[in-house]
């Protein structure tokens, strides 16, 4: 059974958007830790 184009595209785009959101989240967490002096 072949995966349809819409499912294929949806899977790739979803993965890409989630991946792009990651650095934003990590930087926000670091800033938060930095402000509350919890980095180390």
């Amino acid at each position: 059974m072949i995966m349809s184009l819409s499912v294929f595209s949806g899977l790739i785009w979803l993965a890409l958007v989630l991946t792009i959101a990651t650095p934003v989240l990590l930087l926000a967490l670091l800033v938060k830790d930095f402000i509350s002096n919890q980095v180390w």
Binding site: I2, L5, A15, T19, L27, D33, V39
Partner: protein, 490 residues
Amino acid sequence: MAETLTTEYALSTELGLTLVVLFGAAWVLFGYWLGRKNKTHEDFALAGRNVGFAFAAATAMATWVTSNTTLVAPQLTYQFGIWGMVGYSFAALGLILFAPLAKRIKTLLPNGYTSGDFIRLRFGRMSWHVFIVISVVYAFGWLVSLGMAGGILLEALSGLDYHLGMTAILIICVGYTLFGGLRAVIATDFIQALIIIIGVSVIAWLLIDNVGLDTIHSQLGSDHPKLLDVLFPAAIMFLFNNIFFGLGEIFHSNVWWSRALAFKKNVAFKAFLVGGLLWLPIPIVTGFIALAAPQLGIFPPSPDMVGPTVAAGVLGQVGAVVVFIVVFSALASSLDSLLAATSDLVTRDIYHKHLRKDASDGHLMRFNRYTILGLGILTWLLCMPRIATLGALLNFAGAFVASTIFPILLGLYNRRLPGRYAAAAMAVGTAVGLCSYFVIGFYVAALSSCAVSGLICAVGVWRSNEQFDWQQLDEKPDSQSPQTDKEQLQ
């Protein structure tokens, strides 16, 4: 086109070398700068047990993004199609399921250093021996896979000799781990995580823009329908195998235990959970890159070169530079972690607990550093002959690590599993996993190893009346603990 892409390199050898030297110098200097804060062995090995949430989540994610994710995920997608990349992303379950274990580890072993500490105190000497063999085989399998990946990457992108590239990445990672210890490893992981994610996203985005998802889909559907087949049997077996392999890798390895012990008290659980969720989509993005290979007429000389070759082929020199930096960062983020964690295991479990119980803190810190250097040299020697493709090498280790899943899990949560059953579960599980690897295929090694080990553990729990006292895991710092050792190691 295939000929052009595999014989003319996307980067000149000079540019490849320049990037290695620049990145290498930056990481080593950064490691040296961070290492100034290390005053005790605990600082060096466990970053003072005080790592905050941001660094903790980033290091969990970045360490799990390895050559496997950037080189093997495209390789497996090239071989197994969509199940290759989706199956690979399921390895995130290892990080996610380790989250509650990390919290438990931090609670039960507040003064612990390594996963070996736990096995020794919980199950005794016999299990510890089996566990150390498994850990060493896995650590060297992974170290060699990473060293080889460094050489493969440089060769694929710039034509630089494999041995030279492999040597360069080992020198750099040994250098900054030696100076900075776990603190340097974790801080560089944060920066490397950002580089990896941004780089991978740029490559995938440009690939979609240049080639198009519909073109890739229609080409695969007509010429390589198996790669889009949602019922590809070997690939589905691979998916389940990969889940158990990932669980085994994370549950047993000191790379993850040392992190659980290094994170602040309330950080361990959420850091592994977030790290796993952040990691989940990355193999799909890197694996997708390989699906464009047939459309582009790219047939790499070795399947593990497919990712870098496609990116470099489509995106030209800029793409090749991005791929180079991404894979270099991914390799470094895992190699440094493995060097640090394995040297901790050798220093703490073998040297301190069995050879020099009276060693001073300063002595242990020096020994730890020598061990990092020694591991680097040994890895270099093992990487010299290019013995296997990365995927094959990695899956061989699956037979070993999957046998530890149930002993670790039950050891942490169940008082009844006796040490002799844990030892038998790991030894017999590994043996059966290896037989499956050679008789059936690499994609069932971890699965069979885990199943047999689980069965032996179940019998052990069923037949035992033992009630292990959790307090025995709380080994006091600098304790000579001859009594504890004598009692526990029977």
